[in-house]
Amino acid sequence: MERIEKAITSLQRMQGSGPESGLHPLCLFVITVAYLVAMLSVPVSAFTMLLWFALYPVVMAALTGLDFTRIFTGSLIALPFALLIGLFNPIYQTRTALRVGSLAISEGWISYLSIILRSMLSVQALLVLVSGKGFTGLCRSLESVGMPRLLSTQLLMVYRYLTVLLQEAVDMTRARRARGYGRRHLSMKMWGAFCGQLFLRTVARAEAVNRAMLARGFDGRMPRYQPVRQRWTLRDTLTLGASLACFALLRFVDISRIFTHLL
């Protein structure tokens, strides 16, 4: 129940954000992909190099007017998986990588930290992208650069009906709980009947939606409901160029080493 309600809250929060201002959605998308490619191509042994990539989510959140605390908190959800899988690195990589005073740090711990950082940074970059531009804006942008129309329509349809069907599932779960005499989870037999019922309601809704859409002249494509389409401006070109240059610098030059030499 909690999971469904949390999902509904996330969706409502997402629907609140949109491409009202700032960068073109396509520009931010290209920047995000370039950032992820550059960041993920840094070897896990080069932790100091990777650390510099942590600047991007902070800077981009500030530029697009987002609350970085929320982005940072959001990036913690993917952490348990990275913590678990990465834990094997200190076990298998025991060679000493560096010494801090008398403390020897193994290669495994360095790569473990890198995995944790990679996990958090990739989610942060994703959250900056989607929180800043909204799901609809991204779909439209990707459609303009060649994503099949059928796929973008499908994505927008699923996105549109998620809230509706999640609410349907919440109502059914609440009704079941009220009559469930304290049982937390459904037995498999009850789950089958529950989801089967949800499926029948879904189909009934889909048929009604299809008839309504056909009556309004649906031609296989979702109508644009953004009154003004955001244009690609000089600002987008400059931001994209500067971002790509920064990522190349961070990827190919070890800035930490320069600092070490200076100090």
């Binding site: 999971r3 469904i4 999902a7 969706l11 992820l36 490619v37 993920l40 191509s41 896990v44 993917a78 899988i85 990465g86 094997f88 690195n89 298998y92 990589q93 790569s111 995995i115 990739s122 989610v123 994703l126 959250l127 989607v130 799901f135 991204l138 099949p148 129309r149 059928l150 796929l151 329509t153 499908q154 927008l156 349809m157 699923v158 996105y159 009906y161 509706v164 069907l165 999640l166 349907e168 599932a169 779960t173 937390r184 989870h185 459904l186 498999m188 789950w191 089958g192 009947a193 989801c195 949800l198 499926f199 029948l200 879904t202 189909v203 889909a206 299809n210 859409m213 649906f218 296989g220």
Partner: protein, 327 residues
């Protein structure tokens, strides 16, 4: 089974993204060619249904914990393989972009592992040839469990392959493979029972929904694409894993190497029993002295031919009464 960006290297992630994008475009073109674009509202709402169904947990007997459905085989059974794949892919994309479940760069891997392996491989190979509705409860359950388990196991193999090729985690490929396939065996059985339960409910309540004309009209021709995809995937997995098994020492070998200074145990420790067993294996094996990659590919081809032959024989037997002319 959601892959994370953290465990993928950039080349592996990009290759998987390109492959997944190709599959998505192929699915969209195929649906357009079959003039099934009018299915979009149904596919859209079905995607939302699977998403909602994933949020409703079922109790796992005897463990006190709960699980949820993935829905690949279920979607393929209700919509057909390509529409089912496209729908599940859209659910994965939304999970990634809206709920940050799985990374953006890992999206291609997730679409291949969870979407393609279930809807485009397991469904046409292990579900469709063995089951035609209406069917008995046991048959629906049995075939659902078989298809879902094999689909998830193939996905688990792909996860191992992608992780091993990326080389981010130090966990040896062999151990990771055993861990993933072991866990997904149990998950696959749960997924199969859940899929069977929904299908049985729909068969009882609205049987017409389980027999879409589209799924029938695809027939033998519709199987060709997924079967080729399966063959390529099986070869890639077998070849890739065999290569990794041959090139990277596993944890046990590594421990032995650390203890003894050599990867091989001394010949004096080999018992007479093990010598006898090795001789027996040598005498009975088809390819006694072979290269690992080559053996992996040959093994996969043999399994593929066996499964193909078995499903073809079963479907021919099943089809016989249907070929009688209707008077």
């Amino acid at each position: 089974m959601h892959m994370s960006d953290a465990l993928l290297s950039a080349p592996v992630a990009i290759a998987a993204d390109v492959a997944a994008a190709g599959l998505l475009v192929a699915a969209a073109l195929r649906l357009k060619k079959e003039s099934r674009e009018n299915m979009v509202p149904l596919m859209g709402v079905m995607g939302a249904f699977v998403f909602a169904a994933q949020m409703v947990n079922f109790a796992i007997p005897g463990t006190g914990s709960s699980g949820h459905i993935v829905g690949g085989v279920l979607l393929a059974a209700l919509l057909g393989p390509w529409a089912g794949f496209l729908t599940l892919a859209s659910v994965l994309i939304i999970q990634c972009l809206v709920f940050a479940d799985g990374g953006l760069m890992a999206l291609g891997c997730n679409i291949i592992n969870m979407g393609a392996m279930t809807a485009l491989v397991a469904y046409p190979l292990f579900f469709k040839p063995l089951l035609r509705f209406p069917a008995s409860g046991w048959k629906v359950m049995g075939v659902s469990v078989l298809a879902c388990t094999l689909g998830l196991e193939l996905g688990a193999c792909m996860v191992t392959l992608e992780t091993a090729l990326s080389g981010i985690t130090a966990l040896p490929a062999g151990k990771f493979f055993l861990l993933m396939t072991g866990i997904h065996l149990a998950i696959g059985v749960g997924e199969g029972i859940a899929t069977g339960a929904v299908l049985l409910f729909v068969q009882r309540s609205r049987p017409a929904l389980l027999m879409p004309d589209s799924a029938r009209s695809q027939g033998k021709k519709g199987m060709r694409g997924p079967v080729i995809a399966f063959a390529v995937a099986a070869l890639a997995i077998a070849g890739g894993l065999a290569f990794l098994a041959s090139s990277a020492p596993d944890g046990l070998e590594w421990s032995i190497e650390r203890i003894t200074g050599s990867a091989d145990l001394a010949a004096t420790h080999v018992s007479a029993l093990s010598t006898g067993a090795a001789a027996a294996q040598e005498a009975t094996s088809i390819m006694p002295d072979y290269d690992n990659s080559f053996a992996g590919i040959v093994g996969a081809v043999m399994v593929l031919i066996l499964v193909w032959g078995l499903t073809a024989a079963l479907s021919r037997r099943r089809r016989k009464p249907a070929t009688r002319p209707i008077e």
